[in-house]
Symmetry: C2
């Protein structure tokens, strides 16, 4: 048996982006495949990234007054059918429990694909008066959607997420909530994951089944495809009427409350990979990395090296950094490759020569830049270096987004730009489904969003020539 | 519409213990019923208790080197069948997914009742060498077991839990892990939930399906029934052989690793209710209470009262206490009843007269004892009072356990003691299934555990008269 496991080569992203992505997922030990297609195992390193996202979002949610709950995982078919648009959207991809023990169930139960119907059923029991509002709930769980094609993180039949569900006395308050939670998602992407976002509204065609309005954050990947990164929905009172959730307002009038929901999934980890990764593997932004710094002793058999490396680990840990030392007997070459594959933002090397000079070497994962750090300055310099890496990753991703967002003034130009460069194509739009379908059929692009930040590119829709209502982003998306 | 919601009366526990329990679950707003029998909604207040348990256990697990992962929620039938004892134990209570979208699945999938088979399948992919061991994994999730009779917390078709799964190079190491995790559970019950435990080993009959040995902590409830509070299992290499998880040991020999699993569920919240609750509702130990102190302004319309109450809230929050002020316009009487129902350990009242005397009144939930606290001493006295409450609850529960644990020297005496007093009956035991069945049939008691702390009550088994091997605890359990 070999002393070291191989850190195997991965496919270059320029050769086969999809294969590169899958290679990173498995070789960085983020996921494993299970015996059921589309159901993935999140291994410790992958799950630790999700835990860091959870910690950030959970804190933000609670600061804004949301409370966590746990809803059942099964939905009776009759309950799912209560709101017509919703069931039409989700029924085709439901997984159905039909047997309990050896008995056939009287009514089949769907494993939740999302939980609007469960929250509404519960609220119909407990909401009576304006005093009971708002209800601001969240749950962390997994959901099932029986997709045909599946890929780790990007499209699973099961995925982990949080789903926020809230109920408000007025439409204004509900819309404010919807927009506020979108902003929390945008902050999470930009501040934690170093992924710049485009914020906007989905078209009627692309909105969530049953929603009045769907807000989204969209990101751009390395290969210039788009990723719908998170969504936030305003439902009006459609569900609350269907579920008969009426409350007495302050004037003692029976009123239907207004509802929102919003979700953030493990798909975000796929986004991290495709935004920052390279041909040596994963590249993690320091703010999300389970291990921010890996300390490697060089010539560890020389007197004092291991002890010194251990001292650095202790000092960095005490300084609040997520740090690990690799004291295994694997070769330095193997260690370099392994921790590069795992995307650890900063590698610290320390050997006898460094010790003589009272310094260590810090190597950035993202660009392999070396910095000599005096040991006396360790606690000041390393956090600063991590910040530099975080900002550097964001800037690089932002440059990719900006340099691959193109205005177009005809359908033909849009098609050509997409074919040649990929990316987001921005055009004016009349707002019709017809033109949206035409863009899909003739240029292969779906609408990504109607961005909040509007530009006036002209007066007419370049697809039909009628008066334009808004500027819209188009793209090819995961 | 009434200005206040009623804090409704609950059934006295002496009248109907089961109804009292259900009343507390719903009136303290811990749970709601869903549209599917046995699937319960954990409302914010109930879930917050679970989050506090999670925080404690997750920290302990990680300190001991465990890593969190996420396994799929569905198990192919063929995978579940791989270990014979295991499938026999669980198949009768599995819920089966048979349809995905509109198509019948080629193989039906069981919603996980527990995940040994999934962990083993994964390990068979990734464990190759002694360098890969130990594997110390945990996951937080919910599982389904299609039980016939169901009750909130105590027996749900779905319940929340953590399941730890570990793999070790040797039997000794695995057994040490099994015992260590049992100790973590015992600590959680005793230190956090103020519930004294009996630690021991399950009999062959009562052990987990597929395990070689099952350890458990058993608690005693108010009504002197037992509660199996948590379990920890040692599997030997039964599963690893069945799943062909072989590794090369340091001598380059192919060897099967030894396995453990251990679980702690939301059933523990049922235990808190039935250990500490009273006829006014829930009583929460301060260490687990989502709200440790509720501050109520008395005569809140008088100048300065509300402001002073708010100041106390701020000061206690700053002192690290989970505190809330009730500034609603409900009457003081309603507020007293409401926060008693919710089991908040300490109520602080402050009114104009208290302000004149530079004091407030602290009232314990558990015994309604009043203490006048000088405001200058607030940050010192309140934490000390909370500690007193925590200890008081533990002592009371311990007295209940001790005073309802009886030695018996014949089957008849055991039956009579159980009938008259309930509680745990301890006897010597020969170790045979036959005597265990006899105790069940003739005295209505199951074996609870063979406690670690053995006493020598005699030389023979009082059921059959043969030589005794161990002292065992019997009881009627939830």
């Amino acid at each position: 048996m070999a002393k070291e496991k191989n850190v195997e080569q991965i496919t270059d992203m320029e050769v086969d982006f999809a294969q590169w992505f899958t290679d990173v997922c498995t070789k960085a030990e983020l996921v494993d495949y299970s015996g059921v297609k589309g159901l993935f195992i999140l291994r410790p390193y992958g799950y630790a990234i999700w835990e860091n996202i959870q910690n950030y979002l959970d804190r933000r949610f609670k600061e804004l007054g949301h409370e966590n709950v746990s809803m059942p995982m099964l939905i009776p078919e009759s309950l799912l059918q209560r709101e017509k648009d919703h069931v039409e959207g989700f029924a085709p991809e439901c997984a159905w429990v039909t047997m309990g023990g050896s008995e056939e169930l009287p009514e089949r139960l769907c494993v939740r694909p999302t939980s609007e119907t469960l929250f509404c059923d519960h609220w119909s029991h407990v909401v009576h008066s304006w005093r009971d509002l708002p209800m601001k709930y969240n749950q962390w769980c997994s959901v099932l959607r029986w997709e045909k094609t599946t890929r780790p993180f990007l499209r699973g039949r099961e995925f982990l997420w949080q789903e926020g569900h809230t109920l408000h006395a007025t439409a204004e308050e509900a819309i404010e909530e919807t927009e506020q939670m979108l902003q929390v998602y945008a902050d999470c992407y930009e501040q934690l994951l170093a992924m710049p976002v485009v914020e906007g509204v989905k078209t009627e065609k692309e909105k969530f089944a049953g929603a009045e309005r769907t807000y989204c954050v969209e990101c751009m990947m390395h290969d210039h495809k788009g990723l719908q990164a998170a969504t936030s929905h305003y439902f009006g009172d459609g569900f609350t009427r269907a579920f008969n959730i009426a409350f007495s307002d302050k004037n003692n009038q029976l009123t239907y409350p207004h509802q929102t929901s919003w979700g953030f999934t493990t798909r975000s980890i796929g986004g991290i990979i495709m935004t920052h990764g390279d041909n040596n593997g994963l590249v993690l932004p320091p703010n999300i990395a389970p291990i921010q710094v890996i300390v490697l002793p060089i010539a560890a058999h020389k007197p004092g090296v291991t002890e010194k490396a251990q001292e650095l680990v202790s000092r960095l840990k005490a300084a609040g950094i997520r740090v690990k030392g690799d004291f295994s007997d694997n070769s330095p070459g193997w260690k370099f490759a392994n921790w590069e594959m795992k995307g650890v933002p900063l590698r610290i090397e320390i050997g006898p020569k460094d010790m003589e000079n009272n310094q260590c070497v810090a190597v950035r994962r993202d660009n392999r830049e070396k910095t000599y750090v005096f040991l006396d300055e360790l606690e000041a310099r390393i956090p600063a270096l991590l910040e530099t890496v975080q900002q550097g990753l964001y800037d690089k991703a932002k440059a990719n987004l900006d340099s691959h967002t193109f205005p177009a003034f005809s359908l033909e130009e849009a098609r050509e730009l997409q074919e040649k460069n990929g990316g987001f194509i921005k055009t004016m739009w009349c707002g019709s489904l017809e033109c949206e379908m035409k863009m899909k059929e003739q240029a292969g692009m779906t609408s990504r969003c109607i961005p909040f930040e509007q530009e006036h590119l002209g007066d007419t829709c370049p697809i039909c020539g009628r008066a334009a209502k808004k500027m819209i982003y188009w793209g090819v998306a995961y």
